[in-house]
């Protein structure tokens, strides 16, 4: 590793307010060449605002940014790009309709102010960076046909095809599985060796500790702590991020041995996706299903909920066989589903929290004249709003304005309002900060204690460990092992996943 005294980029005492609310209160950070600097914080802590200021999208109220030796009050997006600042956005910001090669080369073509585009030059430029980083990407494929992990590699290549000095990665691991994360880290280390200053924005503690040399923790727009990452542990970071102690041990209430069988799935098969799936769920039980991306874990859940029905097999809910051929069938059988991609599949983004909550259960609010019972709807909404501790000014706020954790709670509220007997959640806390995550899991445990059967499909091992009674591991479309009770701990799950 190279040691450079002079920071590549330095942000000093930056203040940013949005309509009177302080998003950043005098934050300073400096990035050194060849160093990975993690910025950790919960949603709303000011991480995104900081990124926007460095990339020139937002202009700070006061403070300064110095890059390449010159100090200024703010940057424009083009100045930032020309000074070598590159951002890999959480959503990658790629063009789905263009080839990987063109996505990679577009930025440098624009930066060089090319007037004409050449397929050959684009391909050569893209190929050079791909080989330099030792990657394998199908450069001729349209990005929309690539896997999420490959899309991220495309985004990384795009950021580095110019002469990037500062690379900002915004929650880069959200959509990746463990193996993919490892691969990403290998690349990050390679970039370090090339002398790139990396700002790694995340709220996943393990990753932060694994990759960072330095650590800055933000909370509510304030810089709480900053120092070498070797001074920190999971616990101390979590505490600094949330401002309180966070426990990670198992919080599962023992299951009543006489609890009735709620769901009995037998021999569920859809060719190419999963085969001979048997699973049982009892009232009050939280069942975890995990496996690598593409193992079929999401497909199983989607089949149980009728999104893409299985070809054969039985689904027995509370002793009665149900034919699940559509979402309607599943809902009728008392099954609820919180999808993986809550923003596109679960919510009406530009509609209020209140309307979203009752969107799927309006039928149950009819009066005897078939009209809607507004009073009862209002009561339910107020009750859910309070029960799920949604942080918003009031129930009329639109969902788009909420943070990830709160949006996820609205999805939960929507399903809880239907009072399903079985709730299936796919990645319930993806993109959610630690504080909200704990609360969401607590809500699930509460619901289970009340007799609901819950299936959690997740990649997040601590989450599975903290809340599941039982864990099934899926590999290539089959359930390959089952962990119960004391066998459930992070090491064991990881071992079985890798097997």
């Amino acid at each position: 590793m190279t040691v450079v005294a002079q920071p590549v980029l330095e942000v000093r005492n930056v203040v940013k307010t949005y309509g009177g609310v302080h998003a950043l209160k005098s934050v300073s950070i400096s990035l050194l060449a060849g160093e990975v600097h993690c910025v950790a914080g919960e949603n709303g802590s000011g991480k995104s605002t900081l990124i926007k200021i460095i990339s020139g999208v937002e202009r700070p109220d006061s403070g300064s940014i110095s890059i390449g030796g010159s100090e200024r009050s703010h940057l424009t997006p083009n100045e930032a790009i020309r000074s070598g600042v590159q951002v890999i956005y959480q959503d990658f910001s790629l063009f789905p309709n263009l080839t990987a090669a063109e996505n990679i080369a577009m930025l440098s073509e624009l930066a060089k102010r090319q007037k004409f585009s050449s397929r050959k030059r684009i391909y050569e430029d893209a190929d050079r960076i791909v080989r330099e980083l030792g990657l394998k990407i199908d450069l001729g494929a349209d990005v929309e046909n690539l896997s999420v992990a490959d899309r991220q590699l495309v985004a990384i290549c795009r950021a580095l095809v110019g002469d990037a000095k500062v690379l900002i990665m915004d929650e880069p691991t959200t959509a990746l599985t463990h193996t993919e994360v490892d691969r990403l880290f290998t690349i990050v280390r390679r970039l370090q060796d090339r002398g790139v200053a990396i700002m790694f924005v995340s709220h996943k503690l393990d990753e932060v500790l694994q990759i960072a040399q330095r650590l800055t923790i933000l909370r509510n727009g304030e810089l709480i702590e900053s120092g070498p990452s070797s001074d920190y542990s999971r616990h101390s970071i979590a505490k600094a991020m949330t401002g309180r102690d966070v426990s990670e041990e198992r919080l599962v209430e023992p299951l009543d041995p006489d609890a009735p069988l709620l769901l009995d799935v037998r021999n569920l098969t859809r060719f190419g996706d999963f085969q001979n799936i048997d699973l049982q769920l009892r009232a009050g039980e939280i069942l975890g299903i995990t496996g690598l991306l593409g193992s079929g874990r999401s497909e199983i859940a989607e089949a149980v909920f009728g999104i893409r029905p299985a070809q054969s097999g039985e689904v027995i809910v509370a002793g009665r066989a149900h034919k699940i051929g559509s979402i309607r069938d599943a809902v009728k059988a008392g099954i609820g589903y919180v999808p993986e991609d809550r923003l596109t599949q679960g919510l009406f983004l530009d509609v209020s929290i209140a309307d979203n909550m009752v969107a799927s259960s309006l039928d149950s609010y009819r009066t005897k004249f078939r009209l809607l019972d507004r009073k009862r709807i209002r009561e339910s909404i107020a009750d859910l709003f309070k029960r799920l501790r949604i942080q918003a000014p009031n129930v009329t706020a639109v969902v788009r304005s909420l943070s990830g954790g709160n949006a996820q709670r609205v999805v939960l509220a929507k399903w809880l309002d239907r009072k399903p007997s079985i709730l299936v959640l796919n990645g319930p806390t993806v993109g959610v900060d630690i504080g909200s995550k704990e609360e969401i899991l607590a809500i699930l445990r509460e619901q289970a204690a009340g007799g609901m059967g819950i299936i959690v499909i997740s990649d997040d091992i601590p989450e599975l460990v903290s809340s599941c009674h039982r864990i099934l591991i899926v590999h290539e479309g089959r359930i390959v092992s089952e962990l119960v009770g004391d066998d459930i701990h992070a090491g064991e799950i990881q071992k079985r996943l890798a097997a």
């Binding site: 309709n97 263009l98 004409f116 585009s117 593409g294």
Partner: protein, 339 residues
């Protein structure tokens, strides 16, 4: 085998479309002996020329993620105004100048569309629906509402109207205006493929926010795009006047559906980001084939509109299925790798 078939299918179903056109032509030949003649063929070419120019404009807008319904109004506005000025001033500026003036007028009207759409980020359909009516209203109120017949047109236009590139033995002819039309099509295909402006249009159609983030000046690109499309519509308008040998301010407006249907059939995505000139040419040919020849095979002409509407739905449906397929693809690929 699969990839070979896939290649024949084309990136935007161009191969499939060509097959459909051939199938329709064969069916019509069987149904009516009058169909399979050079006359029919060259009539098809002739009737496709103006729609193609319009369709190329619609294609550009559609690739950028928008939709334009104001082009017929711009076309007739620009063409009629230019002709009217020449007539009123009692001068004949010459062909080149007529085209230039019309395209400047059209460009200005397009510029207005572009500024409103890009600056205020408004939905393109609604904006162009509004400007279509505005432009037509201004044309009829302030410029003129009278039909100008061949005798009233500038001499340079009427002379051009009768210039044939090739009189085909056995009936039919190839009109001179095919040259500028083909030239424009080639130019646009080149622009889309080989200029950064063209690639930026695709990028904006793919994801406007991502385009902004990589440093594409989205507003500027869009304003230029709408200006260009306005000029293109004007060009189509003048070609229309030349071919028809008259200038009628009430004409063209109302043909939007045929054009949009042709572009969608040609594989351009209504969601933006996809589309090709080759596909658009084929789409125009198919729509004109149906429009021209349904009567020939004994289907009442009243069915024409319904047929075009059905084609439009068909085009969108094919696209929708294509989307589902391409979205499912990565999962399968991953399976194969793992296995």
């Amino acid at each position: 085998m699969r990839t070979a078939l896939g290649r024949m299918r084309g990136a935007n179903n161009e191969g499939l479309l060509l097959a459909v056109i051939l199938a329709v032509a064969v069916a019509m030949s069987i149904a009516s002996p009058a169909f399979f003649t050079p006359g029919t063929f060259f009539a098809l070419v002739r009737s496709s020329m103006v729609p193609l120019v319009f369709a190329l404009g619609v294609l550009l807008i559609m690739i950028s993620g928008g939709i334009d319904v104001s082009f017929p109004a711009i076309a007739i506005f620009a063409a009629y105004t230019t002709v009217k000025w020449s007539v009123d001033g009692n001068l004949d500026p010459g062909l080149v100048l007529i085209f230039v003036i019309a395209m400047v007028v059209g460009g200005l009207l397009g510029l207005f569309n572009g500024v409103v759409i890009a600056r205020f980020r408004l939905p393109t359909l609604i904006v162009t629906l509004g400007t279509q009516t505005i432009y037509k209203g201004i044309l009829l109120t302030y410029i003129g509402s009278l039909y100008i017949s061949a005798s009233g047109l500038p001499k340079s236009i009427t002379t051009l109207s009768d210039v044939h590139l090739w009189d085909v033995p056995g009936g039919g002819y190839l009109h001179f205006m095919i040259i500028p039309v083909v030239l424009v099509a080639v130019l646009i295909a080149w622009m889309l493929r080989w200029t950064l402006f063209g690639r930026s249009i695709y990028a904006i159609g793919g994801d406007a926010e991502a385009a902004r983030r990589v440093g594409i000046r989205v507003v500027r690109t869009q304003v230029w795009l709408y200006t260009l499309v306005g000029a293109l519509a004007a060009l189509g308008g003048v070609v229309y006047v030349v071919l028809g040998k008259n200038a009628n301010p009430q004409s063209i407006v109302g043909t939007e559906l045929d054009i949009i249907a042709a572009v969608v059939l040609g594989g351009a995505s209504i969601f933006g980001g996809r589309g090709s000139v080759v596909g658009t040419v084929l789409g125009v040919v198919l729509v004109q084939l149906i429009n021209n020849n349904l009567v020939l095979v004994g289907i009442p002409s009243t069915w024409q509109r319904a047929a075009v509407g059905m084609l439009l739905l068909l085009g969108v449906t094919v696209q929708a299925f294509g989307r589902v397929r391409s979205r499912k693809r990565p999962v399968i690929v991953q399976k194969e790798v793992e296995a």
